[in-house]
Amino acid sequence: MSGPVLSARGLRKSYGDRVVLDGIDLDIHQHDVVCLIGSSGSGKSTLLRCLDLLEQIDDGVIELDGREVSDPHVDPRAVRREIGMVFQAYNLFPHLSVLDNCTLAPVRVHGTDRDEAESRSRELLTRFGLGDKASAHPDQLSGGQQQRAALVRALCTGPRVLLLDEITAALDPELVGEVLEMVRAEARAGMTMVLATHEMAFAREVATRVCFLDRGRILEQGPPEQLLTNPGEERTRQFLRRVLPS
């Protein structure tokens, strides 16, 4: 067993006086599907953004393949090339067609030949039911289609880790399923993922590990069947009582 693909040690981050991450330790091994749960403001999104080096951390270490990447001398782009990230609000580029959204990074960042990038993008779009939307612009798609397109865009560069930041939170309930189906397929295919989510049923189904975040700390983590049904901490139990209707 090799070491973790991505790991965080003693991660700290605050905005002014407000501490958002308060000493996070997290290891993500290959084929892990780690679900981050916790109430709004618990630091889930910030943690994902820090892992992608989109936020500067105040203290701690982030390692990719055992190499410290939180060092200011490391070019964050070299890290982001290996990591795919999808946001809650899709963030597709509205001036580009779906296909151009997907090929932008492969062509401009990874130096892939345009024809090759296009055929790979079309293949992925088709696999996820967006084959006929390649030349459409994002505003012409439904929310679910936009989020699936954003997922395809993140997959087009062949990332080793996928970070998903509450990607169904902005969707109408009837559109959540199609997006989760796609994540499920990726999980089954062995994609390493870290996802912040409010979908507890989905977390239980796909996660190899669930982390409960509370006030910037990972209060508790473990396999989903244990953590979601029989948590050790009172705070976790309170949270689960609120989000699980039964």
Binding site: F87, F93, H137
Partner: protein, 249 residues
């Protein structure tokens, strides 16, 4: 109602005491015809200035705007220069810039520098409008939501790539209407160079007026400008609608 107001207005104007005199000096058909060729030739100068200046202004505006939105500490002096340029050139009347360059530069007697009034006044217009356009473009750049930049960064695009492929295309689309408004305004302001004697349409009209004591040619020159600016405005409306249709579908 509109018709009624117009009729009343026309009646008030045409029954004024000075109307016969006004009619003679400003609405003389023979004078209009006589001055027409000179004004047309002059107007070609306006059109040339506009066509040459516009692309240069756009390039300068974009470059200055991009410079102002950089964050690298290395570029601080350049950012300062860009701020100084926009502040100064927007604060000074365009006419003043025109006169300063047209009179000042030849007075320096620098060898190798043009003394052609056409080019000097063109540079003045470019400098003045470049500052306006830079501010319009900058407002467009700043209007792009940070989430767009975050998602470009997440795809590992560099800052210049993010600017070139994500921010600028959206920013320019967004500011196209005010930008084109500035260009319509530039088309009119090419007449400012008449102040230093470049023989464009307004100069030709004034010249005729001063020589023949008839100012009808001023209206002829006005008609020339309107003949370009109105279609230009309609064209920009159409461009804007088409861009929206493409994106919204």
């Amino acid at each position: 109602m509109t018709v009624f107001v117009l009729v009343v207005l026309v009646w008030v104007v045409t029954s004024s005491a000075g109307w016969p005199r006004f009619h003679e000096t400003f609405l003389s058909w023979p004078d209009a015809k006589k001055a027409f060729p000179d004004i047309a030739r002059g107007f070609w100068t306006n059109v040339k200035m506009f066509l040459i200046a516009e692309p240069i202004i756009l390039v300068i505006g974009i470059l200055v705007a991009i410079t102002r939105s950089t964050v690298s500490p290395w570029l601080t002096p350049l950012r300062g220069a860009a701020v100084l340029y926009t502040d100064l050139l927007r604060g000074v009347p365009t006419l003043l810039v025109v006169v300063l360059l047209a009179l000042g530069v030849p007075a320096l007697r620098l060898t190798g520098l043009t003394t052609s009034l056409f080019w000097l006044t063109l540079v003045a217009l470019v400098l003045s409008y470049g500052a306006y356009v830079a501010e319009v473009v900058r407002s467009g750049i700043e209007s792009i939501h940070p989430s767009q930049i975050a998602s470009a960064q997440a795809l590992a695009l560099s800052r210049p790539q993010t600017m070139r492929h994500v921010v600028l295309p959206q920013a320019l689309r967004r500011v196209a209407p005010p930008l084109l408004n500035d260009f319509v305004s530039l088309q009119k302001d090419t007449a400012l160079v008449s102040a230093v004697g470049v023989s464009e349409a307004l100069f030709a009209a004034q010249d005729y007026g001063n020589f023949n004591f008839n100012y009808t040619p001023l209206l002829v020159a006005g008609a020339f400008f309107v003949a370009i600016t109105i279609p230009l405005a309609r064209f920009t409306d159409w461009l804007g609608r088409r861009a929206l249709r493409r994106q919204r579908g």
